[in-house]
């Protein structure tokens, strides 16, 4: 068994709004191993994004333990890449310069970063688009560029917040396959927030189910489906069992 890369123990986060306290997440306990693809699934507004922002070092948690990096060193600014629902590309920069943004901010050697950005664009299938502007790309292509950007500084952990939520169903399926391939090639640890139960199971080596607000860990299980996965797997019996298990937890059955 690989060593624990992210350790969350009874993590709790409370927001203070006017006179009320809003408990965004409470008692989230989860261990993630190096190289795992963890899907976080749960109803909307359940605090998944909050959890992601705590992992990114953007929010402080109020109590509990958050440890990232296992035994190795981990610098949250250099070792985290992020992808959001919107591609959030800078409209005034060419695709390659968008991908290079994290490298610029971190002050990495630019010649190397440029080579890497080129390789990454090839990996996400945007080989011929590096000198295009974002408006010239479709939504799915923009999201691929955003994924390349999240990888350019070679982070250990990629955090994805519903990255395919705004795409149409077919593009979304295609992007799921792409992401599966990218994950296998890059061997990064990925935490992937989604509303879609299908997507969570299809992509995840592990699925963590969060309950409605305040988010608690409702379930957390390993997905034992062979890799690399293909879309047909969604119609398999095992896939159906996993789906049912999650539907039941979320009270949708």
């Amino acid at each position: 068994m690989a060593e624990v890369f992210i350790k969350l123990e009874e993590v709790r986060k409370v927001y203070h709004a006017r006179n009320e306290e809003i408990v965004a997440i409470s008692d989230v306990t989860l261990d993630i191993e190096q190289g795992e693809f963890v899907s976080l699934v749960g109803p909307s507004g359940c605090g998944k994004t909050t959890l992601l922002k705590i992992l990114a070092g953007l929010h402080e948690h109020d109590s509990g333990i958050v440890e990232i990096g296992g035994g190795g060193s981990f610098d949250p600014s250099r070792d985290v890449g992020m992808v959001f629902q919107a591609a959030l590309l800078l409209k005034w920069r060419k695709i390659i310069d968008n991908v290079l943004l994290p490298a610029e901010i971190l002050g990495l050697p630019m010649a190397e970063a440029r080579d890497r950005a080129r390789d990454l664009l090839a990996m996400v299938g945007l080989d011929g688009f590096k000198n295009k502007y974002p408006y010239e790309l479709s939504g799915g292509m923009q999201q691929r560029a955003a994924i390349a950007r999240s990888l350019v500084h070679d982070p250990k952990l990629i955090l994805m917040d519903e990255p395919f939520g705004a795409l149409d169903a077919l593009t979304r399926d295609r992007m799921n396959l792409e992401l599966m391939r990218i994950w296998q090639e890059s061997r990064k640890t990925i935490v992937f927030v989604t509303h879609s139960i299908q997507e969570a199971i299809f992509l995840g080596t592990r699925v963590a189910v969060l309950s409605a607000r305040p988010a608690r860990m409702a379930d957390n299980f390993q997905v034992e489906l062979d890799m690399p996965r293909r879309l047909e797997i969604k119609t398999s019996r095992k896939f159906g069992e996993y789906s049912q298990r999650i539907y039941r937890l979320l009270g949708l059955e």
């Binding site: 990114a56 600014s77 992020m82 005034w92 901010i105 408006y135």
Partner: protein, 255 residues
């Protein structure tokens, strides 16, 4: 390339043509109705006013310095204040209302006070021009900064970007289209501000010159002064347009 040139040629040709048409109408109007020269001089008479030694060049230079000076200070203060407000909620809730009420003070009414405080000259006129034209820049910049996706700021904050990096790489380029719309409105105001300052009290500048020649009913010189003031304003506006084209439109943001 040749079609591009032809397009450009047609574009500028058209601009020149409509201006020439206005001058022609002006000329015909004066000639046909036989308007007295002290009411409205002909275009030729207006141009001839340049030959009288009114220190045209020096006066135009002074007015241009006041307009450009006030304008550039306004751009920096407007953008800077908007940025400060976006960084600090406290600043925004305390200083912004003050800026709004201070802005309601008629600047023209402040003119005599400025002169009491600073005596007259170029500096108080620059300040009047600045105070009249900075608010639209502040407001549009503020708006532009607010339009920037919070997730985008989070993305770079997660990389521990400095405020300066966030400003130069995300906020400033992101709000440029908004800043420019404020800057375009501000040009006219800066021109008005500088001339008002010269009207109230000064010893040089085209506004001052207008008051001088008014006494001798040299309407042609007054016309010329107005034309030169307009020209300075147009030059500033063109510079702003060129800069906008270079910074904003060239990268395909405005489509």
């Amino acid at each position: 390339m040749t079609t591009w040139l032809a397009d450009k040629g047609r574009h500028y040709g058209f601009i020149i043509a409509v201006h020439a048409l206005v001058v022609l109408i002006w000329y015909l109007f004066v000639e046909i109705w036989d308007v007295p020269a002290y009411v409205m001089p002909t275009p030729q008479a207006t141009l001839a006013a340049l030959s009288i030694d009114y220190n045209w060049l020096a006066n135009t230079r002074v007015t241009a310095i006041e307009i450009f000076g006030g304008y550039f200070i306004a751009v920096f203060v407007g953008v800077g204040l908007a940025l400060a407000f976006s960084w600090s909620k406290i600043l925004n809730s305390t200083v912004m209302p003050l800026v709004v009420s201070l802005n309601m003070i008629p600047k023209v009414a402040m003119g005599p006070l400025f002169i009491v405080w600073m005596s007259y000259g170029v500096i108080p006129n620059i300040i009047i021009a600045f105070s009249i034209c900075f608010l639209p820049i502040l407001l549009t910049t503020e708006r532009g900064l607010r339009e920037i996706e919070p997730d985008l700021v989070d993305l770079v904050r997660a990389l521990k970007a400095s405020r300066w990096q966030i400003f130069t790489k995300i906020q400033l380029p992101g709000s440029l289209p908004y800043i420019f719309s404020g800057m375009k409105v501000a040009v006219v105001l800066a021109v008005a501000g500088a001339i008002v300052g010269e009207f109230i009290a000064s010893q040089e500048g085209l506004g001052y010159l207008m008051l001088q020649v008014q006494v001798t009913l040299d309407t042609a010189a007054m016309f010329m002064a107005v034309l030169l003031i307009t020209l300075v304003g147009v030059v500033l506006y063109m510079l702003v347009l060129g800069l906008e084209r270079f910074l904003v439109i060239s990268d395909s943001r405005v489509r």
